[in-house]
Symmetry: C2
Subunit: 191 residues, 2 copies
DNA sequence: GCTGAACCGGAGGGTGCCTCCGCTCGACCG
DNA sequence: CGGTCGAGCGGAGGCACCCTCCGGTTCAGC
């Protein structure tokens, strides 16, 4: 289907890429509620152009994340390779938390996408994280370091909560650390 | 100090009370990001009037909560009286979570107030919850059902996280239940 | 080069935030 | 009870943002 579509016009492609690049900067700095108009301005295009390429905030966001997701995949492989199985799940969840927390305000929409039945732009990003988490959870269970009644879905929810708490508190606060410790003891089988 | 100030003019008092009442409805229905202009409109006053009584969103919110806080205090007394010490802390934290979750979006500002050094309008609301939580935590420790390294501050953070997760998911989702179980096992000493 | 379809960008209507200022009306005094 | 004056009112207005629509422009294939 997609293969039968003719390729994008060169100027359209350029604008689209530029918009995603500028959006990435803005979202990193201002969080996901950053002004779309400002992104268009900075990219030197009109608002109409932005809205044609990305009909709503979420599709633009999904595109930004799609690019960034390579980083998370790399982290996943690194964790699987280098971290001892006893701490692998912890390490992975930390990565997920850090990834989510990169963009202030992302945790909300992400949890929404985790729940939503119909596929949203953010859905695929979520699905990937869920698969990896299931993998790590299975490993941990086999090694006897994760409780049996905890699900990957729950764990992602926990990571999102922590990311939320961390980016809600004033920067530099250790508020999330206590909660993280409590959560760890709650899903691990060995403490 | 406050006692030397002359009492409010009757019309001002009336407007102020009306605004708080209308705001309460709106915030309950729409969450804390509800439109302040709409509140003013519904109360039949101009925006200027609203902003003189409540210079920013947070002071209006704090006033709404101050009224509602009686409910939480009642819950606190009921829990202290009726619930067995083994489950008292759990019961109290559930109440806190429910209370916070009543107003969609409240968890963020509340956590902020929990951290802030200088007193914000929401600060006193927080302080009250913190005191009660410390009390219940101390009881639980004495009864041997709470881990020693958990702080009341951490627990409030956890309640806020759960409230956040609960009101972020589409209504009726059980997403928060898993996280709540994990957290409970994390702070309790007996499971 | 020509042509038409794809694409552009900005004007504009709607909403919300917050401020400022001229007028009103309630409180108190004589 | 009537007058005064200042607290209080409310709406106009400036600003930012969201999103849509459409007349003009530019690319791509012939």
């Amino acid at each position: 289907m997609a293969s039968t579509e003719r390729p994008m016009r060169a100027d359209a492609r350029k604008n689209r890429d530029l918009l995603v690049a500028v959006a990435r900067q803005h979202v990193r700095r201002q969080g996901i509620t950053t002004s779309l108009e400002a992104i268009a301005r900075d990219a030197g295009v009109g608002p109409g152009t932005l809205y044609r390429h990305f009909p709503d905030r979420e599709s633009l966001l999904a595109e930004v994340l799609r690019i960034e997701n390579d980083e998370l995949a790399a982290a996943r492989d690194r964790v699987a390779r280098e971290v001892d199985v006893a701490d692998r799940l912890d390490a992975w969840l930390s990565e997920v938390e850090r990834h989510i927390a990169t963009y202030r305000g992302l945790s909300g929409p992400l949890v929404g996408a985790l729940e939503d039945a119909e596929p949203t732009p953010l859905g695929s990003v979520c699905a990937e994280m869920l698969v990896a988490t299931e993998q790590f959870l299975a490993d941990a269970r086999r090694a006897g370091v994760a409780r049996a009644d905890v699900t990957a879905h729950d764990l992602l929810g926990c990571a999102a909560m922590l990311a939320w708490l961390g980016s809600t508190c004033p920067a530099g606060s250790r508020q999330a650390d206590g909660a993280r410790d409590i959560l760890r003891r709650g899903y691990r089988a060995d403490r």
